[in-house]
């Protein structure tokens, strides 16, 4: 590996010998793109797109020379890379910024190599070649890993999950569970909200009356006349009877039931209103 890459001008024979030929034409290896050969821009584009970035392109150059990454002559690779970039630019091909950054970096490495070697005063300044080689090595690991992953048996390409038919099955859905506290919080919040939007308070009848209203309504629901007296359960005592009575009055007030009496002091009948 040459430590003085600057000695090799780009067109030097040494590099040409190392290069793998692009093609063999009439028995002669062609190592350089003929300058007069028209390459359709599309083809170049395809060529560039087959590389996953500047590191990939550099790896390609190294591989083309059958070299171990660790053995590369950074300067020679730099020459190739920059020639490639120049060719692309000559084709007025739009290069991704990364390629140009890499070109600049390579150029910098090369120019440093040209300078007389100095004892490194600043220990922290790293050898840029080493830095590049490490990046190439690291990238190559993942490039290989990507190929390995691509080889793994893949669902839908190499393997398929069994999915056979079901027999007739009844669908059952579990209804959600509700905690009473959830219900109370919901109510408190809705009442709170209602308070804020209203100037008047919603007054609630004692629950027992409202419940009794439901019960009475249920009794008369069928539409038939129910004897008024039958709505009362004497065993409940005075309070119970009073609650039922209040419920009936409230239902009448809300026009939910009708009371009818066919004759004076005759039995009173209760009927749901027109339903």
């Amino acid at each position: 590996m040459s430590d003085q890459p600057g000695d090799n001008p780009p067109e030097s024979g040494k590099i040409e010998q190392e290069e793998m030929p692009f093609a063999v034409v009439q028995g002669r290896a062609v190592t350089q793109l003929p300058k007069d050969l028209y390459i359709p821009p599309d083809a170049l584009e395809v060529f560039l797109e087959s590389f996953e970035g500047p590191l990939d392109l550099l790896l390609y150059f190294i591989r083309r020379q059958n070299l171990d990454i660790l053995e590369i002559d950074v300067a020679a690779i730099t020459e190739q890379y920059i020639k490639y970039i120049e060719a692309m630019q000559a084709m007025r091909f739009e290069l991704a910024a990364e390629y140009l950054v890499m070109a600049a970096m390579l150029a910098e490495i090369k120019s440093r190599m040209l300078l007389p070697r100095q004892v490194q005063e600043d220990d922290e300044e790293a050898d840029p070649r080493a830095q590049l080689i490490l990046r190439l090595l690291e990238y190559e690991r993942f490039k290989d890993a990507a190929e390995d992953i691509d080889q793994l048996p893949r669902e839908g390409r190499d393997t398929w999950s069994a999915e056979i038919a079901l027999p007739e099955m009844p669908k059952k859905v579990e209804p959600p569970e509700v905690d009473l506290r959830e219900l109370l919080v919901a109510f408190s919040q809705v009442m709170h909200r209602a308070d804020m939007f209203r100037s008047h308070q919603i007054s609630l009848e004692p629950l027992s009356t409202r419940e009794r209203m439901s019960i009475v309504l249920d009794r008369v629901r069928s539409g038939e006349m129910v004897p008024f007296a039958a709505l009362f359960t004497p065993e409940e005592g005075r309070m119970g009877v009073a609650v039922t009575f209040l419920a009936v009055l409230e239902l009448v007030r809300e026009s939910l039931i009708q009371l009818s009496q066919t004759e004076m002091f005759g039995p009173i009948h209760v009927k749901a209103r027109d339903s």
Partner: protein, 235 residues
């Protein structure tokens, strides 16, 4: 591997993964290679073989109109149905509010509920409450449109362990709940805002250390997502 055995394996594999019945022609089409391709009779014989071998297994080879398919055995339905058993979803806030209003203000029309809640009550909510038999129609108010009057049921009381509606806390106590709500923090009442997994994780180390809780967070989110879906379905 004998030819027969290979044909059999191909058929088994295809019928298991196809996800639909396969006709004899489709099965034959699997063998592109003319030499390798079995005859129809041979194919039928192999299928019969496969069918016989299903005995004692959890699946069977069925012949349906469009061809052959593997199917799980009918007798397994009670177990298999559990695979799709949906986690009990949560009821929406709207549904709980509606139920609470019916409980406290019954008998009540939908219009009344809407007036209290300030928003429309969806038909789905009413249907859910009626299907669950927590609420029923006890009559109709004698006004234009004859709106139904809703009341709670015996089942409602049973479910919430109440003897009678009077066991529900009185309104003034309920109002206090609003103030103490933050302390109650019972599950399911207030869903926490969805949290981006480990948004507070700052370094690599923490990420790895935290991953246990990460996974559970993801799980919860999935649950919530599920609950949310069902909710919307219920509404």
């Amino acid at each position: 591997m004998s030819d027969m055995q290979q044909i059999r394996q191909v058929l088994e594999g295809a019928l298991l993964v196809a996800g639909k019945p396969l006709s004899l022609d489709q099965l034959l089409h699997l063998f592109a290679d003319a030499e390798q391709r079995p005859g129809r009779e041979e194919l039928k014989a192999v299928l019969e073989d496969i069918e016989t071998d299903c005995a004692g297994h959890g699946y069977e080879l069925k012949r349906v109109a469009s061809g052959f398919r593997f199917q799980a055995r009918e007798e397994l339905a009670p177990w298999l149905t559990r695979l799709w058993e949906e986690k009990p979803a949560r009821y929406s806030r709207a549904l709980l509010e509606t139920l609470a209003i019916i409980a406290y203000r019954q008998p009540i029309t939908r219009g009344d509920i809407e007036e209290i809640r300030g928003v429309a009550v969806s038909s789905n909510i009413m249907r859910t409450l009626l299907e669950r038999e927590w609420v029923r129609v006890v009559g109709h108010r004698d006004v234009p449109g004859k709106p139904a009057l809703y009341a709670t049921t015996r089942l409602f009381l049973d479910y919430f362990n109440l003897q009678k509606l009077g066991d529900l806390p009185p309104l003034n106590e309920i109002r206090d709940l609003t103030e103490i709500n933050p302390e109650l923090e019972f599950e399911g009442v207030d869903l926490p805002p969805e949290r981006e997994p480990s948004e507070d994780v700052d370094s690599l180390e923490e990420v790895e250390a935290d991953d246990e809780s990460e996974l559970s967070t993801i799980g919860e989110e999935a649950d919530e997502a599920l609950a949310g879906d069902d909710d919307s379905a219920l509404q």
